[in-house]
């Protein structure tokens, strides 16, 4: 069994997880950038990825709440994930994206600096004791995966977006 996570191109290569324990789901993650670091969230939580668009800012709310956007007739809140995680703010660029994720309180958008790829991560190469993460508060982190492109911080999404 490969010790390295397999980078997938579409269609997703299911063979890479055939040897894995059946109870462990293949960890397909959407990998994105905040600053120079790579982060990953479970693909099943991702609804869609949209380009940056007009955000109506809300007054008198916490700083990480960017505001509301119109997503096909619905208003959804948008969170500046970097700000939320306590990272330094990066101005919006051409590659800035809003990842629309599912949550128990409905859709919410998270602003990331760029979206890179979808990868299947081997559970074996995920380190659940994130001592290597210095910058982030431990509660937001589910683990760190070693990947051929470098380390990927897997986020505890619900904690990371919670108000």
């Amino acid at each position: 069994m490969s010790t390295e996570a397999t980078k997938t191109t579409e269609p997703i290569d299911l063979n890479s997880t055939t040897d894995a324990d059946a109870s462990q789901s293949p960890n397909q993650s959407v990998i994105f950038l905040l600053g120079a670091e790579s982060y990953g969230i479970d693909i099943f939580r991702v609804n869609e990825i949209i380009r940056m668009r007009e955000i109506t800012s809300l007054p008198r709310v916490e700083n990480h709440i960017r505001g509301l956007v119109n997503l096909r007739g619905k208003t959804i809140p948008v969170i500046a994930l970097g700000t939320r995680l306590g990272l330094s703010e990066v101005p919006d660029t051409e590659s800035t994206r809003i990842i629309v994720v599912d949550s128990e309180h409905g859709n919410v958008g998270i602003v990331v600096d760029a979206v890179r790829e979808v990868v299947t991560l081997d559970p074996a190469c995920i380190d659940a004791t994130p001592s290597i993460v210095q910058e982030l508060s431990a509660e937001f982190v589910r683990g760190v995966a070693k990947h051929e492109t470098g380390l990927i911080t897997l986020l505890e999404l619900d904690k990371a977006i919670a108000a």
């Binding site: 007009e54 809300l58 007054p59 709310v61 709440i65 509301l68 007739g73 208003t75 809140p77 108000a163």
Partner: protein, 693 residues
Amino acid sequence: MSNDLDMGQYLDLFVQEADEQLEILEQETLKLEQDPSQDRLQIIFRAAHTLKGSSRAMGFQKMAELTHEMENVLDNLRQGNLSVTTPIANALLNCLDTLCDMTTSIRNGNGDAVENPSLVQELQSFVGVAPAEDEAGAPLDVSSSGFASGLPADMADALREAAVQGTIYRGQFTLSADCVLKYVRAFMVTSLIENVGELLVCVPDREALEEEKFDRNFEVFFQVSSDFEDLKTQLEGVSEVDWQSVAPWDGEVGTSEEDESPSEKAAEAVVEATPSAVASTPAAPAAAATTRAATNEVRKTESGQTVRVDVSRLDTLMNLVGELVIDRTRMAQLGAELSATYDHPCIEALAETVGHIARTTSDLQDQIMKARMMPIETVMNRFPRVVRDLAQKLGKDVKLELVGGDTELDRSVIEVIGDPLLHILRNSVDHGLEMPEQRLAAGKPVEGKVVVSARHQENYIVIEITDDGRGIDANKIKAKVLESGLATKESLDRMTEREILQFIFASGLSTASEVSEVSGRGVGMDIVRSNIQKLGGIIDLETELGAGTKFSLRLPLTLAIIRGLLVKVSGVVYVIPLGNVIETLQITDDQIQHVNKQEVIVIRGMTTPLMRMRQVFQSRDFVEKQESEQLYVVIVGIAEQRFGLVVDRLIGEQEVVIKSLSRFCGDARGISGATILGDGNVALIMDINGLVK
């Protein structure tokens, strides 16, 4: 109950019917004291009778017992053996309260477990009878003899004509007292007959049978093409039938051999046997047949024109229409942009289509809004009783006038305004109106008058509660305010009378010199205000010493789609609910004064605090721009308070669909929701209530 049938499915229906009958009872009983006419007594009697019947059928014995005693008293009133006195009216009203409690208890699945033996005794004392006779016997003593003498003449003629063709048989059936599915039994009878012959006439008619609008008796006339004895045996096999007689018909419409009671009594039984619907047609029971005909008419229109719809479906429809309204605005805007950029015949056609869609959407929206509308009557109907009881308790003479009960508003609003209105009304009777001797001394009529009126005004409903009492003394309020420490003497001295009056809405202030059961605990008006605020409404009052007080409420018709004033603050479009907007002004800096470092402007004698929205709504992209010399001010009202909001720009009025804010937005104070504008951008809806806190 001897029956094992699952009563659950009938329970809802029963409770619903009970509620309807109770409402009729309450309204009519209240009027009984002023006008104890036969018509009214008849209506009340019927309603009580219907309740008795249905509660007995459902096995609620306590309820049946109580309604039975009510019926006894009412019957005596009807016969003229008793006359309507205040104790009787009180007792009847107390019965209604107990019945309401029972219904509530039944609705909650606890059965009619509300004991009130003293009430039964009290009722019995009026008629002076020994305690209730044997259960089943007493109330239905006319049942076996209660067959139709009221067969309409034309039907009888038709039957006689048909008799030429062959023998007509007449079947009379009395269902057992605990029969649950009366219609099913009746249906079994009619279908047995129809299998082998032709059913000519049903009394009561089939519709009434189907709706179980009969007591226990029904009667059929039929012809058979096969063996009559065979059918007779089959008919005897129908269960839950107490008594039946099937025999060739001799052409007599009146009483049958078995029926020895005077026909007058029989006629009465028929009247009694056609319950609930009659209550809405206050026709005197001149003849049994005509009454029944009227009943059927009412029934027909009711079942033909209305349909019960789950409220959640209406809510979903409302949301869908909301989406359409947004798209409509968006399409109109796109169309306008296209026609400004290109010149093509199609664009004109598109504009027409968009125009049509816009109109249709508006109509659709109107219709759905209307479907959710209820007359304010549903709330007002509670008032007469409250006022009567209160007046009696206080020893005051009060005349209550209700105006505009048919004014309709959204059910979401109806649900919330009942209590605030009741509170104001209680206040008016308790504090507003003087005692009779004081009124006399002041040269006023002894009878105090309270008017509750409702009317539409543009997109709002205006409710006014006016009394002709003593009015509110601003000086007394001033003293109270000082006493309770809500304001200092200096600040009070600076206030106008109007401003001081607003303190009656402050919490912890009661102007009643004595704390009474009804009001004067200093919580009332406070709650009223917060309820009105929740609805985005405005409350105001006018008073004149010695002449009376008028409270006026302005409420939105609906809570899902609102008209709003669009304004711009720091580049963001905000919607101020039009219900809160009093007026808009353009002022210059030098009109602004300062009180305790607070910017204010004076409009028509009222010192109005100003809020610079740029500062209040500091958001991520906050820039403190030098504001121009001309300031745009929107004067808003929340309950009785007035504020001036300084905004960058006024955009215009628009209808917007309210979308609630996601939990992730945290506590966005001052914002109640969002909406999507025609250009696709999101605008924020201001929550004036949250803003001023």
